[in-house]
Symmetry: C2
C-alpha cells in the first residue's frame, strides 16, 4: 500500500460518513474548506493520543484508539457548549500497522464521528516507530455564547455531570464497566449543549482529574472553590480516584446559586459538588482542608 492508497481508503470511509453542510471541501486538497453561517462563532481544540503514554497496543484495540482520540477532542467541544462540525485527524503509524490496524482505527473513530455528527474533513498521515494521533475538532456556537472557564463568580454553585473515578478505577482493575469507561469514554456533547442553553457561568471538561481541572477553572475565573464532603463517586472507585483520577471526560460547571439546574442533562445525572467563593485564585478547600491539585500533569 502506498500513502495514496491509504488516503483513498480513508476518504471513501469519510465520504460514507456524516457530512456537515458547512464542509464545502473535505479530504483531497491542500486544505479543507469550511463555510461559516452568519452569526456563529467557531471553537477549536486539539489533543494528542500517544502510544505507551495514553494507551498501549496490547490493551487497546485499533478501534478503541480511534474512538478515544476523537472522544478526547469532542469532550472539549462539549465543554464549550458547542455543536460538532468537523475534525482533522493526524495519524503516524509503524509500517506494519499501515494496513488492517489503520483501517480499524478509522472505523472506530468514524463510528463515534457519525454518532456525534462530526465530519472527518482532512488530516495528515505519516510513518513513525510508534502510533501517534492528534485530533483537531471544530464546533459551532451562536456568536458570543461559548461556555468559558473564566465566567465563575463568587456565590455560584459547582456541579459535575455523571460519576467520578470510573476511568481511574478501570485503568487500575482492567475489568468490568469501569474498564469499558476507560477504553471508550463518552463525550458529553448533549449535556454541553443543554448547559449552553441554560447559560451557566463557566464550564470545562474533566480530562486530568477534578482537583487539577477545577483548580485551572478557578485560576481562569480568579476565584476559589469550596467542595462539599459528598461527591458522585463511581461504584468501586476510591475518593482519591474521584478527586485526582484523570480521563473521566465529565463536565464540571458553575451556575448562579438561584439558577434552576435539572437533575439530568443530555441523559446524564448532574450533582452539585460545591460553591465558588472570593479569595486566593485557584485555591480549593474540602472539609476545611486545602485540596492540592494532584491530577495528571504531563511534566511533573
Amino acid at each position: 500500500m502506498t500513502e495514496t492508497d491509504i488516503v483513498r481508503h480513508i476518504r471513501s470511509l469519510a465520504e460514507g460518513g456524516y457530512r456537515a453542510k458547512a464542509v464545502v471541501r473535505g479530504i483531497g486538497d491542500d486544505c479543507a474548506v469550511v463555510r461559516p453561517e452568519p452569526g456563529e462563532d467557531f471553537v477549536f481544540t486539539t489533543d494528542f493520543v500517544l502510544q505507551d503514554r495514553h494507551f498501549t497496543l496490547d490493551t487497546h484495540k485499533a478501534g478503541n484508539v480511534g474512538h478515544k482520540a476523537l472522544a478526547r477532542s469532542l469532550s472539549d467541544l462539549a465543554a464549550m457548549g458547542s455543536e460538532p462540525v468537523f475534525c482533522l485527524v493526524s495519524l503516524a503509524v509503524p509500517e506494519e500497522l499501515s494496513g488492517k490496524w489503520t483501517a480499524r482505527f478509522y472505523e472506530g473513530l468514524l463510528a463515534l464521528a457519525n454518532r456525534c455528527k462530526i465530519t472527518l474533513a482532512g488530516g495528515d498521515l505519516s510513518r513513525f516507530d510508534k502510533v501517534i494521533v492528534d485530533v483537531m475538532c471544530c464546533g459551532r456556537v451562536p456568536k458570543g455564547r461559548a461556555l468559558l472557564r473564566s465566567g465563575a463568580k463568587p456565590g455560584d454553585s459547582i456541579y459535575v455531570t455523571g460519576e467520578l473515578g470510573a476511568s481511574a478505577l478501570g485503568f487500575a482493575t482492567r475489568r468490568g464497566r469501569a474498564w469499558n469507561r476507560h477504553l471508550r469514554p463518552e463525550p458529553r456533547i448533549e449535556a454541553g449543549l443543554a448547559l449552553r442553553k441554560l447559560r451557566v457561568s463557566a464550564a470545562m471538561d474533566l480530562s486530568d482529574g477534578l482537583s487539577l481541572d477545577l483548580h485551572r477553572l478557578c485560576l481562569e475565573s480568579a476565584v476559589r472553590a469550596e467542595l462539599l464532603p459528598t461527591l458522585p463517586i463511581a461504584k468501586g472507585a476510591s475518593e482519591s480516584q474521584a478527586l485526582n483520577g484523570g480521563e473521566d471526560y465529565e463536565l464540571v460547571f458553575t451556575a448562579a446559586a438561584k439558577k434552576k439546574i435539572p437533575a439530568r442533562l443530555g441523559g446524564v445525572a448532574v450533582t452539585r459538588i460545591g460553591f465558588i467563593t472570593d479569595g486566593s485564585p485557584g485555591e480549593i478547600t474540602r472539609n476545611g482542608q486545602p485540596l492540592k491539585p494532584a491530577g495528571f500533569d504531563h511534566f511533573r
Copy 2:
C-alpha cells in the same frame, strides 16, 4: 517546571505576538474561539513534523524545528490562496527538552508566525520519548474563492514559483544557501494571495516533489500533464532533485493559456513548465516519455 508553568510561558509569548481580530479567545480555555466575518470561507490544514523522520536533533536547532513545523502548514494555506488567521500547535517532547529547547522551539515558530501574521491560539502539550509536532493552520478566503487542486483544464498552462530541488540539494550537502532553504523553508503566502486575485484555475504546494504532487493535482482534476524540457532548477541541484526532491514548498499552479501571468508574484519568480491535456488522469509526460510519480511517499 510543571505543564501549567510551560503553558503560562507559551501563553505570554503568544499574547506578545500577532493577534488576529478574528481570535476572540486564545490559549487558556478548552477551545480557542474564532469569529468569522460575513462572506468568508475558512480553510484548514494540519501537518506533522516528527523527530528522526522530518528532522534530527543534531542537525536542526529547536528554533528551526518550530519554523519548519509552522512553515509546512502555512505552505498549504498559501496553496489555497488564503490569508493566515490562526494556528494550533501540538508538541510532545522528552522531559529533558521541556525547558530551554521548548522555549526556543516556540520562539522560532512565533518569529515566523508574527512575520506571516498568524495568531498562536492554542494546542496541546505532552511528554514523549521523541519530539513530535503537529501544527494546524486556519486561513480565510472570500466565499467560494479558495484555489483547489481540482480546477485544471485541458489547454491550461502549468507554472511554478521559485526554483526546484534546493531543499533536496541542501539535505544532501548540508551547506550553503540550499541547506538554509531546507532548514528554513519560506511559505509562499504573498504569491498564493496574488494567484487567488488572478483567479488561476488550480494550485497546490510542492511538499513531496513535483512528479508526485503534480500527479496528485492531475488526478484531482481528471487531466494529464505535459512538462517542458526546461525547468527552473536551483543552482547546483540535479534534474532528479528538481523533479522528485521534496520540501521545496514552492507553488505549482495552472491557468488558462491566454491568461497573463506576471514574471514575478509576491516577490518570487514564476516559470511556465508545461501544459494540461486531456487523457489518462494523473499521467505526466516529459520529452515524450512518461514521468513516474517518484516523489516522497510515506508508505512506499
